[in-house]
Amino acid sequence: MRRGLRIAPWAPWGLLYGFCGLMLFFLAAPIVIILLVSFSDAEFVYFPPPGFTLRWYAHLVRMEGFVPSFLLSLRLALLVSGLALMLGTAASLALVRSTFPGRQWLNTFFMSPLIFPPIITGIALLQFFSTLGIRATFFTLMVGHTLITIPYVVRNVTASLQGLRSNVEEAARLLGANPWQTFWYITLPLIKPGLLAGGIFAFITSFDNYTISMWLKSAEETPLPLRIFFYIERIMDPSVAAVSGAMIVFSIVLVIVTEKAMGLSRAMNV
């Protein structure tokens, strides 16, 4: 065996780990900065902050329109993730448990709203609705959001279903359970992690969506991301950082829940 000139075995790994550290810094930077600014004691976004305060968070409640927008987005995201879970889980069962030809193609079809430019999906839907004479309301928002959240549910639930052997289901059937009982008592509890992860991703996607909502929202009601967008395009004071900070904290909680439920990596299908 040849053991000629070799670099110390740890050297490439040292470099790699160092590089990863830098990338971690890059990934965290915009998120950390918002949290810092949201606690800043300055009237304008200013760095380093002269002092720390919680007043921007207290100010949130009084900011015009933010509370109704938050409630609208919350209602929308809850409803949409429920719908996406029902539609997506049913479709996943069919995709994983059946063997018809073209399943792979169908799976790609379900994923397509994810990579299709959302702004074009939004415009197409708006044109479609207005051709039918349907005005933009909560309903149109709900339809648009359901469309782009189904992929997350399908991805997570199919991953969960593939991870469990259909033998358990067959066993239940053999022992006399009907298909519905089998699903309710056997399959559902076993794919719970996938449902949770899919539901969380669906919820977050809807809650944070700007591009689809921008076309389909009604004139009267504005979802939270749109309100934040309009605000930061014009004003740069830390109160919008506080809204964002609150949303980030919320996301962190969801990251922890997902990680505990099925592991983020599995949720992303790595």
Partner: protein, 314 residues
């Protein structure tokens, strides 16, 4: 990937099942679940496929002033797009910016994906969480973070000045540089995740075999790992390119109105000019060009892939 097979503990012998089924006359084969596809497929057909087809039809309609359109089929909208220099320029600029973002994501993503696949389990786990977590923070908020960082008085400029690298603050928002940095941040996970998943599947004995046969680390990487990771490179770069080219929020917030992004022009046509047929035509052209590029790219990679594999066997 670790999976809990509760099934195994319940059924000691899986081979017995078919026999059992035959004896008890329960139908296990067949396609009992296919009908469950219907609701989701219907939703996608009605609210995704039909609207897109409608949009393609509208792109051939004639625009009448006052935001109206007439179903007189015409190619005028497409001619207009290719005749006016502005639209061609913005299209090319959008594609180039998306391409730059993709290349940067690949260069900066490959080492991280490699560490996720091959590094210490704890490091790998931390990295994976760090890469995925930003996806759960909305694009508007992440772009806002970059606005604050890249600002004239932002942290990036302050740091560069403090380090003495630059004398006066750089302009990092309202131009392509800022947009590319933020797009890179927004879509970086979509490069790392497919890459890591492909790298994880490359079996370690292959590397060891190459080492035993006398290859050094770089040869192992260049001749074994890199060729085998091409499917991941393909998937990641196609995803990032598609998503970056199709983005809207980040170019708008970071680029302000100074950087023109093709999809911002589409928005303008529909929302401000009320020229729906032309907006639809722009969207159709955009999708056609992007899809064409993606197909050409995957063909190119496939042939390159074949070449590298051949090189290995010779």
């Amino acid at each position: 990937m670790q999976r809990s097979y509760a099934a195994k503990t319940i059924l000691s012998s899986e081979a017995e099942l078919p026999q059992l089924a035959r004896r008890s006359r329960v139908r296990l084969s067949g396609q009992p679940y296919v009908w469950l596809l219907i609701p989701a497929v219907l939703v996608l057909l009605i609210f995704f496929v039909v609207p897109l087809l409608t949009m393609i039809r509208y792109s051939f309609y004639t625009h009448v002033s006052g935001g109206m359109m007439q179903p007189d089929l015409t190619l005028e909208n497409f001619q207009k797009f290719f005749q006016q220099e502005l639209y061609r320029r913005v299209l090319i600029k959008t594609l180039l910016n998306a391409l730059t973002t993709t290349l940067l994501a690949l260069l900066l993503g490959y080492p991280v994906a490699y560490v996720i696949a091959r590094g210490h389990p704890l490091v790998s786990r931390v990295l994976l969480i760090a890469v995925i977590s930003p996806l759960l923070v909305g694009i508007v908020i992440r772009s806002y973070g970059w606005m604050v960082l890249l600002n004239r008085q932002g942290l990036v400029n302050q740091a560069l000045q403090a380090l003495g690298i630059i004398a006066s603050p750089l302009r990092l928002t309202g131009n392509d540089v800022g947009v590319i940095i933020s797009l890179l941040h927004v879509f970086y996970p979509f490069m790392v995740l497919p890459l890591a998943s492909v790298l994880q599947k490359i079996e370690r004995p292959l590397e060891e075999a190459a080492m035993v046969l006398g290859a050094n680390r770089f040869q192992v990487f260049y001749r074994v790992i890199l060729p085998l990771s091409i499917p991941g490179i393909a998937a990641g770069s196609m995803l990032v390119f598609l998503l970056a080219a199709g983005s809207f929020v980040t170019p708008r917030l970071i680029g302000k109105n100074l950087t023109q992004w093709l999809l911002s022009l589409v928005e303008e046509q529909v929302l401000t000019v009320f020229n729906w047929p032309f907006g639809a035509a722009m969207a159709v052209i955009f999708i056609a060009v992007v899809l064409l590029l993606v197909v050409v790219y995957s063909r190119l990679l496939e042939s390159k892939f074949a070449f590298l594999l051949k090189g290995k066997t010779s």
